[in-house]
Amino acid sequence: MKFGIVTFPGSNCDYDAYHAVTDVLGADAVYLWHKAHDLEGADVVVLPGGFSYGDYLRAGAIARFSPIMREVAAHARRGGPVIGICNGFQILCEAGLLPGALLRNANLQFVSEPVRLRVENAETMFTHQYRAGQLLRLPVAHGEGRFTGDAETLDRLEGDGRVVFRYVDAAGEPTADASPNGSARNIAGIVSAEGNVLGMMPHPERAVEAVLGSTDGLGLFQSMLARVSA
């Protein structure tokens, strides 16, 4: 089982994702250069966080045109797992592999802090190691994380159980204050209709070791390992 971690110009969490899946999970991983034309046999593609192309114009707008993205899209069409974290989520939306868009945080400030998430769907290939309704503590660090979509897009996401993570407060309720960025319906992460493409703003790869204050992100990588190796 092999993870392919894409490095775009300006990616800066590629190294963290690599460390999480290799040193911590003991899985294989390769870095995939944005100009490359094949996935080097990766079973799971990770689009890491960072500032591809400086987030100039719009976060993810330019990176989506990288040569490697053609392969990523093809991999996704074949049902291969793709996970986009933070900037990776933004790229997936810009590339049309996920619906909606991520806009400037409502408070217009970059927000870096641990947030509480509720697992809304524990059936996906990315979350089956969690319990539905389980509360997670993961860090966010973004300036453009306000998920937006028109009403029917949002209704469809909700109806099809494609909202995977929601920002919630200590009581587990999706209150306005619980959201660090003003996302529609406190949405923090969603999956594609086929369920094999996940985008999320929080950083699971930053929460895989006790020494860093939380291991709540492990379940996500273990879910993929279990499902893909199986």
């Binding site: 400037r104 979509g149 003003g182």
Partner: protein, 85 residues
């Protein structure tokens, strides 16, 4: 081929929350500009393009907007001007 300066407006689609515009409106009020009812903030992009004629320049830029410059989910764009250089 001659050169044209094409200017583009890219604005948040109606109905999409524009916190930046709201902050600016509030700020203007704080500064005493009470007569401002509303502010919307978008991008103003100026491109220097070579094309056969103004029409061709406009067409090329429209394609750039569709493919890269504007986000179809959240933004509208208009070509505000094409002037020869």
């Amino acid at each position: 081929m001659s050169r044209f300066r094409v200017s583009i407006h890219i604005v948040p689609r109606k109905g999409i929350l524009d916190p930046q515009g709201k902050t600016v409106a509030d700020a203007l009020h704080t500064l005493g500009f009470r007569d401002v009812a509303d502010a919307r903030i978008g991008r103003h992009i100026v491109l220097d393009v070579a094309a056969a004629d103004a029409a061709a320049a406009g067409a090329a830029v429209r394609e750039m907007c569709d493919r890269l410059l504007a986000n179809p989910v959240t933004e509208d764009y208009e070509i505000a001007g094409v002037e020869g250089l």
